[in-house]
Chain length 324, copies 2
DNA sequence: ATGAAAGCGCTAACAC
DNA sequence: GTGTTAGCGCTTTCAT
């Protein structure tokens, strides 16, 4: 860790303080403070003098000093586990928008092993956890209903006439478990328990590819595949195409998350939409309930996903429709 | 804007300060400060007492108070124009990694109309601008060499035997202009000036689609297309496929940025790699030169991109090779 | 090895 | 309307 000089001066002189402004305008610090904060009980004359001094000196209030005395920064800190996941781009947009709406700023951070630290953080400031299992009583959470999403995927395929609907599982974790459970429950409820077939996969392209390869060795072949997420679905799609199977003529594929990937016309993947923006907005709302409305009991909101039908799902090959 | 209570208390009591710790440990504030900062001139006995008090009270130093007195936060602020662009995910990773390496944290922010504010910011703290034209003498910049990237794209196609190499332009701006210039210069240098053909497009899928549609009306058809970026290339790819043209048999396509999209096997797009991670790392390095090494004269680094060949480029249809 | 005290830049309570 | 003053929580001389 480098040891810098005591203060960082770019232009050679220190940043002007409220006192510099006050002196130049010939008024007191308090008056400058009032003007800066837009208080109207200042004479026009003095206000103008202060404004001039501010622009002359290029004065900008020190956010740390202000935060220190106000004990409030109007900043929401956000820890993003993976900026590469386009789902989080939506969440970021939702948080950013809703925070701005309420006069707050959002600051985003990322880091590998800092996640446990976050949980210990609960109790110090309002904490909302998104799409992670939380039992921490000091935090709120907002998750998507993976059971419901899986159900929608399976029901969509079944409604098209599919019976041999397989599932490529996500990497071990709560989400993968719930999606698997949703898949299995729905298959049973629809009387398709003898067609239950799930294989290992993962939340990435390679995992989907591997899962599809495994499915390709199964006889009879499934006619529809519910993949762990969009990337997994795209990996599966590729593997099927390399095996000379046509999508959706020979096999239908459903993804999960409905990321921007799925919406690409070249991909045009039917997917379960997880409303990232909405989840981000709700997360901010949950914070505000604690900050401004005095809520103290935890809330664990569950958002219902929705089905977006595109071009990777269609009725099964005709021989399969009648088969039973 | 809501008006909260004066301080935010989650657990009902205020956050412990260094004074609370000092009292509980029976020492002075200074000693607590020394322990917290890992200074070794503290007796083991007292150190342990302080450590115990800290963990009993769950004390965490107030970053604002510390920043105020030290005039230094060890935080790098990063403004990202668009989190949806996967290129920036790479930049974020690079910045995050290099900052952490040097004992700093990176905080990311996004916002629509805040960009001008950023430029006025120069002079207050070290400012590095990434992939934007800057003449601001108070800031450093790091850009990728768009001329070189375009040259690589065209040369790659030409080496495969293409002559009718067209270009779909990006949205108006410095990058689009430079890529266009690079395209035109290289075509001329290769003696292909009579095959110069560029059409309007944009940095998104729809723009690429539109550009490709326009190219499809041109006779003779181009056999290779250099697109403004990956998304644009994918839009073009889709439009060509819908016009029953095969990629790369009938037409080759080169993208720009080499985002994760291009690497999807289902897409497998030949692209110009812009090293986002490296650019992020270098950006941090540039800041540190100003912070810790006293550099004051501006630096404007240019990174050379590279060609990544995948499956969307191949020699032109045989009839075209001989044509001249 | 430890403590007292000044002060970072700002806001807000209070006095006038 | 305006100025004075007392901190916010911390680091950092400077004594001891």
């Amino acid at each position: 860790v480098p040891r810098p000089g005591r203060s960082i001066r770019i232009s050679g002189r220190r940043r002007p303080t409220i006192l510099d402004v006050a002196r130049r305008a010939g008024v007191s610090k308090s008056l400058v403070s009032l003007v800066v904060r837009g208080d109207d009980r200042v004479s026009d004359e003095r206000r103008q003098a202060v404004l001039d001094a501010i622009s002359d000196l290029n004065y900008r209030p020190n956010a740390m000093a202000r935060g220190l005395v106000q004990r409030r920064t109007r900043i929401i800190g956000v820890m993003i586990s993976n900026f590469r996941n386009p789902f989080f781009a939506d969440v970021v947009a939702g948080i950013q928008h809703q925070a701005a709406e309420r006069g707050y700023k959002a600051l985003f951070s990322t880091g590998d092993r800092q996640h446990e630290a976050i949980f210990r953080f609960g109790g110090t400031a309002p904490l909302v956890v998104l799409n992670r299992q939380t039992t921490d009583v000091a935090s709120d959470s907002i998750t998507n209903d993976n059971h419901a999403g899986a159900r929608m995927a399976v029901e969509h395929c079944a409604a098209l006439g599919h019976r041999r609907i397989a599932h490529i599982r996500g990497a071990p974790g709560a989400a993968a478990r719930e999606r698997l459970e949703g898949y299995e429950e729905t298959m049973r409820r629809l009387g398709l328990e003898r067609h239950l077939l799930s294989v290992e996969g993962g939340y990435n392209e390679a995992g989907g590819s591997r899962g599809a390869s495994e499915l390709l060795e199964h006889r009879p072949l499934p006619t529809a595949v519910f993949a762990a997420n969009d990337l997994c679905a795209i990996g599966a799609l590729n593997a099927f195409e390399e095996a000379a199977m046509r999508i959706p003529d020979d096999v239908s594929i459903v993804g999960y998350d409905n990321t921007s990937l799925a919406a690409l016309r070249h991909v045009s993947l039917t997917s379960i939409h997880q409303p990232g923006e909405e989840m981000g907005r709700v997360a901010v709302d949950l914070m505000f309930e604690r900050i401004h409305e005095g809520r103290t009991e935890p809330r664990h909101d569950v958002i219902t996903p929705s089905l977006v039908v595109r071009s990777t799902t269609a009725p099964p090959p005709s021989v399969d429709v009648c088969e039973g």
